[in-house]
């Protein structure tokens, strides 16, 4: 101990800990083995060997869980923590397929083409993300894309419902029903996405970030509302 104390002044920090001595009458026994890191690494790489069904099911389950988060927006950070872009892609493709029109010759009203809807959704999301980052947001680029994409879910559901309503005929009643449905789902989308996005902004600038989101979902909702089927 004396030597240790004398040595402490010239030895580097924590060197004194190596000099701890244990008295002989307490038996100390056991196995000092460091847990090998290779076991973890095997787990990391083993997803390559699993069957494709497992991979797809796992991803689908993650996407489904995020859908639930969007439909019941609470203050959870699951959407932000494990972001993925599968869900937005699925929703975007579904919406674009349902909204697309045929060639311009066949009908009087021109419906948006598949590419148009796709481009609107993705470029709209990119612009909103850039805007929120420029205003001083703390959320990352892909997290924001993920949130905006997932919050299109209520509008997709509204699209399906509108299509069903349109099977019953095109008239003022059906228009009123569709208007109510689309308005409700558009406000739901805006509310859900602001629940996730607004937290990352400084408090006094929330309105500046919410307005483009409102406009974005408004345009998509308007596209859904003015959709009319071909005969």
């Amino acid at each position: 101990m004396k030597m240790a104390e004398a040595g402490e002044s010239i030895k580097p920090l924590f060197a004194g800990l190596t000099d701890i001595s244990i008295s002989e009458d307490i038996p100390v026994e056991g196995d000092i083995s460091v847990p090998v890191g290779s076991q973890n690494a095997d787990n990391d790489f083993s997803t390559l060997d699993e069957p494709v069904k497992d991979t797809i099911l796992r991803d689908l389950r993650a996407v489904g869980q995020k859908f639930v988060h969007v439909m019941y927006p609470k203050k959870s950070s699951a959407l932000l923590r494990d972001w993925d872009l599968w869900g937005p892609l699925l929703l975007c493709v579904t919406l674009a397929l349902m909204l697309q029109g045929g060639s311009a010759d066949s009908e009087d009203e021109s419906r948006p083409q598949f590419a148009e809807v796709f481009v609107i959704i993705w470029f709209g999301s990119v612009i909103i993300t850039l805007n929120s980052k420029l205003l001083g947001g703390t959320i990352s680029f892909f997290q924001s894309l993920c949130v905006l994409g997932y919050c299109i879910l209520p509008l997709t559901v509204a699209m399906i419902v509108c299509r069903i309503v349109l099977l019953g005929g095109v008239g003022p009643v059906s228009f009123a029903i569709r208007l109510i449905i689309v308005t409700a789902s558009f406000s739901w989308s805006t509310f859900a996405s602001t629940a996730f996005l607004a937290d990352s902004q400084p408090a006094n600038r929330k309105a500046l970030v919410v307005y483009p989101v409102f406009l974005f979902y408004f345009v998509i909702g308007w596209m859904i509302l003015t959709f009319s089927p071909s005969h």
Partner: protein, 341 residues
């Protein structure tokens, strides 16, 4: 406090992580600025050398340890395979980090959105004030008026105008053949904002006006607020007289404001005239165009089919062949009637 040369017991990894003192070869806490340059220790070549050196050192010690122990079980910490595997993974991780650092450096240099950050530094109350001010012409034109250089308000106004235009195009039943509805709307609005800003900035440069491109973009962007309001009202309420009234009133006010700001920043009668005349013409005519190009006027089509005396502004942007066929038929009929009489 200085650590002796080569002692690595303050580092995280057993083989020594990439601390600055390892890279720069000194163990002191005082960094020698003489040796500090950007690429030292962070370029791939340096990192590669470091890996090679450390790996060789570790392999030498591992070999020495392995020859001492005959029972080298697979996967044990000091075994050859375990050590190499673990070291390999750590090295790969560090290589990835170094690569990421390089890529993010390049990205920050060339694709830096932070260049635009100061132009978006606004509060909601400021945006609201500027929106209201864009309809109030200033009185003092003897000294230069202040123009806010921000881009948030103009961009949001352009997008709002796109949305309103889409609504107008849809309700008027416009059919766009070579293109899409959305593309046309975005092209029109952004084209106007950027194009007319650049044109007026060019004229301002010729006329020696004291205005920068950013200020011009901002000024014209806020001038679109009047357009948004007028179009929003008149795409839904179809009275021509109402439109003309609003065109003069609100369009005129927003144009007057822009003109007053430009006059206050220009010297000389002729330059002022040129600059303000062209801006007035472009701004007012754009509103006129937006209203009448996408205006729902079913009666206009009926008039075209029935009689030759069609008021010129009541044409709808429909398929050209259909309209021209109708006009041809009407003309042929009237010519036949004249010939026969």
């Amino acid at each position: 406090m200085s650590t002796p040369q080569g002692s690595k017991n303050t580092n995280a990894e057993p083989w020594g992580a990439f601390d600055d003192n390892v890279i720069q070869g000194s163990g002191s806490a005082v960094i020698d600025m003489e040796n500090m340059d950007d690429t030292s220790g962070s370029s791939f070549e340096d990192v590669g050398e470091m890996h090679q050196r450390l790996r060789e050192e570790e392999e030498v010690t591992a070999e020495a340890a392995a020859t001492e122990e005959d029972t080298g079980e697979d996967g044990e910490f000091l075994g050859m395979k375990g050590l190499k595997g673990q070291l390999g993974r750590q090295v790969a991780d560090e290589v990835w980090q170094a690569g990421k650092r390089q890529a993010s450096k390049a990205f920050n240099l060339y694709a830096n959105i932070d260049i635009l950050r100061p132009y978006f530094d606004v509060e909601p109350i400021q945006v609201r004030n500027r929106l209201v001010e864009s309809l109030i012409p200033v009185r003092m034109i003897n000294f230069p008026q202040k123009v806010a250089g921000e881009l948030y308000g103009p961009m949001m106004l352009v997008f709002t105008l796109v949305a309103i235009l889409l609504h107008g195009m849809k309700t008027s039943g416009t059919v766009i053949r070579e293109g899409t509805l959305m593309g046309t709307a975005i092209g029109t609005c952004f084209g106007y904002w950027m194009g007319v800003s650049s044109f007026v900035y060019f004229l301002a440069y010729l006329c020696n006006a004291q205005i920068t491109m950013l200020q011009m973009l901002s000024l014209l962007g806020y001038g679109l607020f009047g357009h948004c309001m007028v179009l929003f009202i008149t795409y839904n309420v179809h009275f021509h007289s109402l439109f003309y009234l609003l065109w003069l009133l609100i369009g005129g006010l927003s144009t007057l404001r822009m003109v007053a700001v430009l006059i206050s920043r220009t010297v000389g009668q002729t330059p002022r005239l040129i600059l303000c005349g062209s801006l007035t013409a472009l701004h007012m005519l754009f509103l006129l165009y937006l209203h009448f190009a996408y205006h729902k006027m079913v009666e206009g089509i009926l008039d075209t089919l029935e009689g030759p005396n069609v008021p010129p502004f009541q044409r709808v942007a429909r398929d050209v062949p259909a309209v021209s066929n109708a006009i041809m038929n009407a003309t042929m009929k009237s010519i036949a009637a004249i010939v026969q009489s």
